[in-house]
Amino acid sequence: MSLDPFILRALAAGIGVAVIAAPLGCFVVWQRMAYFGEAVAQASLIGIALGLALQLDLTASALAVSAVLALLLIVLARQSLVPLDSLLGLLAHAALALGVIATSFVSGPPVDLLGYLFGDIFAVSTQDLWWVFAGGAAVLVALAWLWKSLLSMAVHEELAAAEGIPRDLVKGAFVVLLALAIAVAIKIVGILLAIAFLIMPAAAARPLSSTPERMALIAAVIATAGVVAGLELSLSFDIPGGPAIVAVLAAMSGVSLFGMALRAGAQ
């Protein structure tokens, strides 16, 4: 890989997001929140359209809309007449439709919809890098602080609450962190692949892990390797960066999970 500045920026942003996304992705897997994350990611297109129209920072506006939707979802999940997965399917696609419509209203040069949907890692700017590293550091610090409470709740929410963990607060904090991680992951792999970037390394790490901490660590290593290999592939074969990374991660989780399935079958 030749090290042009745009490649260096892509590499730095990709690795930064990989390290942030891996532990959050573990929680998404543990708490069965993949569709939740998908809905949050798709809502960000509305935020991007708003940001374009009002000339705001796009990451900030995407994050704001995603976080609001995520918090709304927590409230909506309390009703039990419509199951959560249907609700999420409804909201995710409603958000995507509204987002596409909203971008069509934005005046000025045509909006690069494909770039937002699938990411444009080689267009990462220095300002984006700031988002990745400042936002990422904030996410990691908050996550370290909340780790024990979050893990307790993932294991057994009722028991955690009985032991004095303020569950609504912790849940709220988690979805805001998740929205932030998704907002920066969108820069790398786009709205439609952001949640894949979170859950694939976690899924690949699961068969190799005996404790939750180890799983988060292994997921971070796998995600980083996926970014490096994906970028290499993208440059060598002139294929889009974000999808290349996700394809590599998919292959890694496939190998890991198939290996596990074969071992389980052999017993």
Partner: protein
């Protein structure tokens, strides 16, 4: 199982918890026995949690109404009642997990509660060793976690994955996590769920021993209407309201119990004092073997971490 909800308010015990402490069935009709069987005499200051006039409804359905309840230091109370009677709701209210619509709850200051929840199906997606799981509670040192695991007879499983434990091992590990908090009160929601008969007797013996050694209050929700731990000082029978309460031997003879659970249940009610405390007759009905049910014959040696 025949559950005949009894709406007649006259069958409720008189308000106030003081009637429970005399250790007799106390069900509606004011038949007062002599205080011969009173198990433990308590001072008023020993109340760990007292609740008065609890009422809670959800979605227009009354779950609990006018429930008075208290549990004291060094006392084992077993909650029984039909499915949907509000046992778990009562436990959650006492734990402070949900707020009652009406009523007062008083906890003794500084009370720590160790809780063993009813359902514990850890998601296999979370890799979790027993040691790590114990550290998630109020941690303490790994040495302390090992000591408590030994206390509950589960040292063997310390490095195993939570999802691979047997029912009995899981219950012991959950008990260890509760004990690591140094609780004054243990709340166990169906502690013998998923445990075979031998394991059940051992768990009851363990809980009885913990009470004796640590002076804990123990509140247990029973999974089985018919079999109640012998060392229970009181059995409280809940069906939206407290329908009756008393020492294990007398509660099943209570007219309110018979009305609630039917003759069949009342006849087959047994006290779990020993692993062979009941045999099955030709009809498959459990019957007590010995007339001396409810004695302290429970301290049999237990087989380690089984």
């Amino acid at each position: 199982m025949i559950a005949t909800p009894d709406p007649a308010p006259t069958d409720r015990p008189p308000a106030g918890g003081s009637d429970f402490a005399d250790g007799h069935a106390n069900c509606g009709h004011a038949h007062h026995h002599h205080h011969t069987a009173a198990s433990i005499t308590h001072r008023a200051g020993d109340v760990l949690i007292g609740a008065q006039g609890l009422a809670i409804s959800r979605g227009g359905r009354t779950i609990l109404e006018d429930v008075d309840f208290e549990i004291r230091k060094n006392e084992i109370v077993t909650l029984i009642g039909p499915n949907g009677a509000g046992k778990t709701t009562l436990v959650r209210v006492l734990l402070g997990l949900i707020a009652p619509d009406k009523g007062i709850i008083r906890r003794s200051p500084g009370l720590t509660i160790g809780y063993v929840p009813q359902r514990f199906d850890i998601d296999r997606a979370i890799p979790m060793t027993v040691a790590r799981f114990l550290a998630l509670g109020r941690a303490g040192t790994p040495e302390r976690a090992r000591a408590v695991l030994a206390e509950v007879g589960a040292s063997r499983v310390v490095d195993q994955q939570m999802s691979g434990l047997s029912g009995g091992e899981l219950q012991r590990v959950l008990l260890a996590r509760a004990l690591l908090r140094d609780p004054g009160l243990l709340v166990l929601d169906e502690p013998v769920r998923g445990v075979d008969y031998v394991g059940e007797a051992e768990l009851y013996a363990l809980i009885g021993r913990l009470r004796a050694e640590r002076g804990l209050g123990v509140l247990m929700v029973s999974h089985d209407l018919h079999i109640v731990m012998a060392q229970s000082d009181r059995v409280v029978c809940v069906n939206r309201h407290v329908c009756c309460s008393g020492v294990p031997e007398t509660v099943a003879k209570d007219p309110a119990y018979v009305r609630l659970f039917g003759e069949h249940a009342a006849r087959s009610f047994a006290v779990y004092s020993h692993r062979h405390d009941h045999r099955h007759d030709l009809a498959g009905e459990a019957k007590p073997v010995s007339p001396s049910v409810g004695n302290d014959a429970e301290r049999e040696p237990q087989g380690g971490g089984r």
